[in-house]
């Protein structure tokens, strides 16, 4: 008899943990069902979801970019500016300077490597807080973008990029979704099944402990910052392909939704940990909500309330199911 009580408690805890892992996915399914009931012939069709998958792919890439340094314990607030710099670099080089699109893309991604190393120099070498450095570089890159674009939108980016991003489709879904999916799978594999992923997690959980265990903390942090900037620059390439133009302003607006998705994603699949599957699921959960609400014709301020409300409620429920124990996030 005396052994039975802990067993029940354990089962209950495991059940709660399992529920926590899938709670967001369950709510997502319920959300889809709700919109389907509200719009029987319109919402639940493949065409609608193929558009949803494609249009939120750059945002998914940005959320993936953010969780790499977050896992290592650093913030990268500059991903929105990096996305903008990358797409505008392509616009300037390809449209105004007649560079072939392939070269323009390579240079744009190369700019990501340079910016990542620039962040690492100040954050890791000079030991300046990542919030300060990436906030500063956001302003720096925004200024550079205005300089190189003359503050104008640049239209007429090579159609081959548009075709490669949203022109071609597989199973009715534009290619851009599969690029984001590939990045997610690669990151998930690295995070979960390689020593590199484990080392990154250790660095984020406790730098001193990681260092005493022989992990090169500085190298891991540099790598995470560079990967983040490169992923953001790839998101910029995708964004340029989706729009077919380069806009010097709008990319910055993706920062907050991407952070919301990263934190919301950390409440699901592997609760308490930034994880690629959770982040991408969160992006599409939020995207589904926004799409459904706008299809219903609800004013757009409601979507902001939905984004913020979903984030706060999900993180709160996650905390409650964990018995209000401290997490390593936030």
């Amino acid at each position: 008899m005396s052994d039975a009580a802990p067993d029940t408690a354990m089962t209950q805890i495991n059940f709660m943990r399992l529920f926590e892992r899938v709670a967001l996915l369950v709510v997502w399914v319920l959300l889809i069902a709700g919109f389907h009931l509200a719009m029987p012939d319109i919402f639940l069709n493949w065409g609608n979801f193929s558009i949803l998958f494609a249009s939120y792919a750059p945002a998914a890439l940005l959320a993936l970019a953010i969780i790499v340094p977050l896992t290592a314990g650093d913030y990268d607030l500059s991903v929105g500016a990096m996305l903008t710099l990358s797409s505008c670099t392509i616009g300037v080089l390809n449209v105004w300077m007649d560079f072939p699109i392939g070269i323009a893309i390579v240079i744009a991604i190369g700019a990501g490597v340079v910016i990542g190393l620039f962040h690492a120099l100040f954050i890791v070498y000079f030991r300046i807080p990542s919030l300060v450095v990436t906030l500063g570089s956001t302003s720096l890159m925004t200024g550079i973008v205005q300089l190189i674009t003359n503050s104008s939108t640049i239209g007429g980016i090579d159609n081959s990029l548009v075709m490669a991003v949203v022109g071609g489709r597989f199973l009715g879904v534009p290619y851009v979704f599969y690029y984001a999916l590939t990045a997610m799978v690669v990151m998930w594999y690295v995070f979960e099944f390689t020593p590199l992923g484990r080392r990154l997690l250790f660095v984020g959980r406790g730098r001193e402990v990681a260092r005493l265990n022989g992990i090169s903390v500085s190298r891991m942090r540099v790598g995470a910052l560079v990967v983040s900037a490169v992923l953001a620059s790839i998101a910029g390439v995708m964004y340029a392909g989706v729009l077919g133009s380069a806009d010097p302003y709008s990319g910055l607006n993706f920062l907050l939704p991407a952070f919301a998705a990263a934190f919301l994603g950390s409440t699901t699949i592997l609760p308490g940990r930034f994880n690629p599957l959770g982040a991408v699921a969160a992006v599409y959960f939020l995207g589904t909500g926004i799409t459904g609400l706008t299809m219903l014709g609800i004013p757009l301020w409601v979507t902001n309330v939905f984004n913020g409300g979903a984030l706060i409620i999900a993180v709160t429920i996650s905390q409650l199911t964990r018995g209000r124990e401290a997490t390593d996030i936030g």
């Binding site: 065409g47 249009s55 104008s152 939108t153 949203v166 799409t291």
Partner: protein, 372 residues
């Protein structure tokens, strides 16, 4: 007798039933004819009409200084107007200086202070800064003997702020009417419209009113199926998904009107992803070069443009009349011009801000000012 009366009643009812749709069709056709006629004024290269009596602008502008404060110096449209005002100013002896800023009200306040300290004569608020946000500064400038004027900001239906010396309004309502008439004519009176607006920008209201009133008058079968209101700061994240959703929810939509043409960079991807690029028409306003390029590429069907250089000449004209106590024109003397696939090549490839509008205004203003 009773039977005859019944038969005649049925015949009358039938006649009425047949006549009502026929009258309705007639009214729709009349509407299309009216819309076509009203559009024609905007389809030819603009001609110059004098905004007032001739005057000696050099005598008026001699040794005078004007500080031009744009809503934000990052806006290429405003920057372009100010650059051209500087060139016109050089020609007539007026020193035009731009107060460079990043769109922050605290910087506009500094601009007023700079103008007062450096003894400018005119402060020009160009297209965007509401005088209501800088009232204490306008009051201080007035007390120091400077005149504050706005251009390309108010609609003629707005009551200008009483502190300003004069306003040169622009017909946003007229633009709405052009968009509505174009929609009527180019959908054979059957426009099902997704209207993308930014109600946080004051000119949106008269512009949308213009669309509504003209559709009500000329197009009984036209309908605004969905109005999508997106604040300017959220264009990049909200317009594309909202337009996609509207197209999915309302497959009958055959025209998207993003009222400011920079919105169209987010409308085009929405149409592309929804598989409707080329099938759903796009009509817009502002004449921004990259959107004129979209017309050349077949993504946008129509864009209403204004010449920046013309705006610069008309603004200088109106402000100098005010400075020299002459009657100020009721509105900015700048015509609207419709670009479509028939004439967009005139705007250049790639399109330029000031190309394609002809140069009637240059000789027109110079003659009016006694320069030629």
């Amino acid at each position: 007798m009773n039977r005859i009366s019944k038969a005649s009643g049925i015949a009358t009812a039938l006649a009425v039933a047949l006549a009502v749709p026929s009258a309705f069709a007639q009214s729709a056709e009349d509407g299309i004819a009216r819309a076509t006629e009203r559009l024609s004024a905007y389809s030819n290269v603009p001609v110059f009409t004098a905004p007032g009596e001739p005057f000696d602008i050099r005598a008026c502008a001699a040794d005078k200084k004007m500080l031009s404060i744009p809503n934000s110096s990052a806006n290429p449209f405003l920057k372009g107007i100010i650059e051209r005002m500087k060139a016109v100013g050089e020609d007539i002896g007026l020193e035009v200086v731009e107060w460079e800023n990043q769109g922050q009200p605290s910087q506009w306040v500094q601009g007023f202070d700079f103008a007062v300290r450096n003894e400018f004569h005119v402060i020009n608020l160009i297209s965007g800064i509401s005088p209501a946000t800088v009232e204490p500064q306008i009051r201080a400038a007035n007390e120091a003997g400077l005149k504050t004027m706005t251009s390309h900001f108010y609609d003629p239906s707005f009551e200008p702020n009483p502190l300003i010396s004069s306003a040169l309004p622009i017909g946003f309502n007229e633009i709405g009417k052009i968009l509505a008439n174009w929609a009527t004519v180019n959908t054979d009176g059957e426009a099902k419209i997704a209207l993308v607006v930014s109600r946080d920008v004051p000119p949106t209201i008269p512009l949308v009113d213009g669309i509504m009133s003209e559709l009500a008058e000329n197009c009984p079968n036209c309908e605004i199926v969905r109005e999508i209101n997106v604040g300017v700061a959220e264009w990049g994240t909200k317009i594309q998904p909202s337009v996609q959703s509207a197209l999915q929810a309302h497959p009958e939509i055959n025209l998207v009107i993003p009222i400011y043409d920079s919105m169209s960079q987010f409308v085009i991807p929405a149409l592309r992803l929804a598989g409707k690029l080329g099938n759903v028409k796009v009509a817009t306003f502002n004449g921004t070069p990259f959107v004129l390029d979209f017309i050349q590429q077949g993504y946008v069907d129509m864009n209403i443009g204004e010449s920046l250089d013309w705006i610069a000449y008309a603004t200088i004209d109106g402000h100098m009349r005010d400075l020299c106590d002459l009657p100020v024109p009721d509105k900015l003397n700048v015509p609207f011009y419709i670009f479509d696939d028939g004439n967009v090549a005139d705007a250049g490839t790639p399109a330029q801000f000031d190309t394609g509008y002809g140069d009637a205004y240059v000789t027109g203003f110079r003659t009016l000012w006694g320069l030629d």
